[in-house]
Symmetry: C2
Subunit: 451 residues, 2 copies
């Protein structure tokens, strides 16, 4: 038979078992945290009608999308979870209770140019709250509060959620008679971190056609820094000149106050007037999240408030607020930086039961008893020498090997070997389970260990 050389496509993450277990730990924290805030799990199809996915169309999306035909159907793979959510909500409006809160942790597809750390298939972990016509500002504080819980749950402390409000920006531009250019200006200002103030100023004047005075007003505005109280206070000095600005400032103050009520410490969020998000559909609060020690990777979690989720699919006004974590990329970066906690076991089992010969019955019963105590247990069934069995346990990285020979069987006991310390005790199965559980619990720690 001809052999075809196996390979995995570039841009597609395929993890070895130990790494996959580390990935699952992060995904589980996301799932559990999202669920604890009353978000419903959704699971929409990966393939959708291409016309529907591309209703908005244009730009990078159309270039990157995986689109193909099958029979007469024009199909495409989803490139994010927001468009399928919009379709879902528009399609099922009458069957949903609003506010509708959903989370989805699923793969999306973008045929980007392959490069290190860029993925063509990657997980997004999204939460959104959709209102029917209206949606209270409280939701705009809850969303970043949940992200704080997620990152804290990962074990991260060196992160910051940055918050701004598009109405403040739009209102400010209106004050300076730049309303029509606000989109263009925001996209330019968005690059501040990457290219610096001088280049931003040059683009504002040369490309956007601003006067020197206007450009300076903008740079002065986005240079407002300090504690959240200081930034809000500086913003107060612009108040009363534009209704939209004033509405945005009131929202930003409410979000800031409520974030504190949700238990998010001041050190973990910052009002940052340079945050605008490139996308046009955000209309109020916007978020970005940065890892303080890794500003080079940009925002690892972004989102905001929008007024019209599903305008392409329904005449119903569906405002919402949502946020998205690029989980595959985040995992890749954390791994590359060596931040995944390597003290946590990455074996698929807590214990490997090794029968030392004879009929398999007693070993099967022992393994089942340990599973009954909540442990993940692999039964080793191969006929190999002792040394090979132990080598397998080592290779697998199991924290415990549980040996069962004739002596142990006769005594109703088993020998539990701690594969890290080498310590070995001979105890009853119930004692073995308790010992293993206690040791694992004592060695438990966060998924991520900051250096």
């Amino acid at each position: 038979m001809d052999i075809i050389k196996p390979r995995t496509l570039s841009g597609f993450m395929e993890l070895l078992p130990g790494k996959q277990i580390q990935f699952e730990r992060m995904a589980n924290i996301l799932r559990t945290t999202y669920a604890s805030y009353g978000f419903a799990p959704l699971d929409t199809p990966i393939i959708e009608d291409a016309q529907i996915l591309l209703a908005k169309g244009g730009g990078e999306t159309e270039k990157q999308i995986y689109r193909f035909t099958k029979g007469d159907s024009d199909l495409a793979l989803r490139f994010d979870l927001t468009v399928p959510l919009a379709k879902y909500v528009a399609l099922h409006t009458n069957e949903l209770a609003f506010p509708f809160r959903r989370f989805q942790i699923s793969k999306v597809y973008r045929g980007e140019r392959a490069q290190r750390g860029r993925f063509r298939e990657f997980y997004q972990a999204d939460i959104d709250i959709i209102g029917d016509g209206k949606l209270d500002i409280l939701n705009e504080a809850e969303i970043p509060a949940i992200i704080y819980k997620v990152f804290k749950g990962f074990g991260l402390s060196r992160f910051q959620i940055r918050v701004n409000n598009r109405k403040i920006l739009n209102g400010f531009y209106a004050m300076n008679e730049l309303a029509e250019k606000s989109g263009e200006i925001m996209r330019t200002v968005d690059k501040l971190d990457k290219i610096g103030a001088d280049k931003v100023r040059a683009i504002l004047i040369d490309t956007c056609g601003l006067t020197d005075v206007q450009a300076d007003e903008i740079l002065k505005f986005i240079a407002i820094r300090g504690t959240n109280a200081e930034v809000l206070s500086a913003l107060e000095s612009y108040a009363g000149r534009n209704e939209i600005f004033d509405a945005g400032l009131a929202e930003l103050k409410a979000v800031t106050a409520n974030l504190a009520a949700f238990g998010v410490p001041e050190s973990k969020f910052a009002v940052d007037l340079t945050i605008a998000r490139g996308l046009d559909y955000y209309t109020g609060t916007v978020y970005e999240t940065t890892l303080l020690d890794h500003p080079e990777i940009g925002s690892v979690c972004s989102g905001g408030r929008y007024d019209d989720l599903a305008g392409y699919y329904t005449e119903k006004k569906l405002p919402g607020v949502g946020i998205s974590i690029g989980l595959t990329r985040l995992f890749y970066v954390l791994d590359e930086q060596g931040l995944l906690n390597s003290d946590l076991p990455t074996a698929p089992a807590d214990a490997l039961v090794l029968p030392m010969g004879g009929e398999p019955g007693p070993a099967i019963a022992l393994a089942e008893a340990l599973r009954g105590e909540g442990l993940r247990v692999q039964l080793y069934g191969e006929q190999k020498k002792f040394k090979q069995k132990m080598a397998y346990a080592d290779r697998l990285g199991v924290p415990f090997a549980v040996l069962l020979g004739e002596d142990e069987i006769a005594a109703g006991k088993c020998s539990v070997k701690n594969m890290v310390t080498g310590e070995q005790i001979t105890v009853t199965p119930a004692e073995a389970a308790a010992h293993i559980k206690a040791t694992l619990a004592a060695n438990d720690g966060p998924v991520i260990l900051e250096k």
Copy 2:
């Protein structure tokens, strides 16, 4: 703006939130059970190189596969989880410890003709154990024992795992000088349940070219019925005439004995000589699982032992044993039959916190306190009338509403309303959490309720 009518492609399951929560319950039981037996979670890409996916090629697969090009790449969506596993194991042989045990619960794609209950995108929930050169017979009992645990975990009792061994069939055919026709005969015999003995006999004679004597021998053989002991005993009478037959019989006896050791009751598995599985690559033990009250849907979980997992990708011999549950179809059938336990809550939250006005701070703190006790809690932030708030709680189907008004805040308490019984008590947040948890635990039950 032009409105595009939203729709989901036919053959793609997209569930409403309550149903999705029921689906997740089943998926969680699968994940937890598989993990408890020391299987590593894997997550291979959905898109693979088409040449690699279709290495085996031919038949229905090639017709049904979603295949397309992107740039210069010839790509396809996986149509099962076995071929990607073969690729994975061949690619990563040196990085894996053998026996390698993995589970994967993921979507696969087949462009079948759309019809009721047939899906083009569906979940398979697979476990496989792969050996390096050799693999002990013990694994062939463990696999169906795990499936027993899964189905029991679902709450099902009216199911049966049917076991056979291809070597017994091959050996038997060899005894009757039908070795070369064994594939053809097995495919015919596989249809026994569907078309009956007379039609099978007719096909054996007319199409396969058997003599009357040979056909009768086969029908007599597959008519062997009774308890497992009776069937094994009847098979003993064929022993000593063919080596392959004898090897198969020894394996079947070992699997049967070990299944009992794993705690699988005799009523839940049956040695059934009519089970052959259509696929050529099974070489030993084969499994099918039927819902006793729904024989019409066929096997809901099938698999078996194979000698050569990855022959298309590597010269290494990788024998294995695996089984697969068609989860989407199983869920669809159980739902359609009304077997999903509707007493279990399907709301995304255990409790909905309803602030009765004033600043949101105390309601936020209450919701956070209840989450700290392990509850899934939604905070309702909309400014609506009491009646509308309660209507929302009803619509959402939450088991508990937790009301927080000025009186409660002043007293450091909250009012917990059981949305099913209407009972309402005013207690501290800690008492509220304990009360809600106790009530939910008392109402807990299996995912599936047989009628």
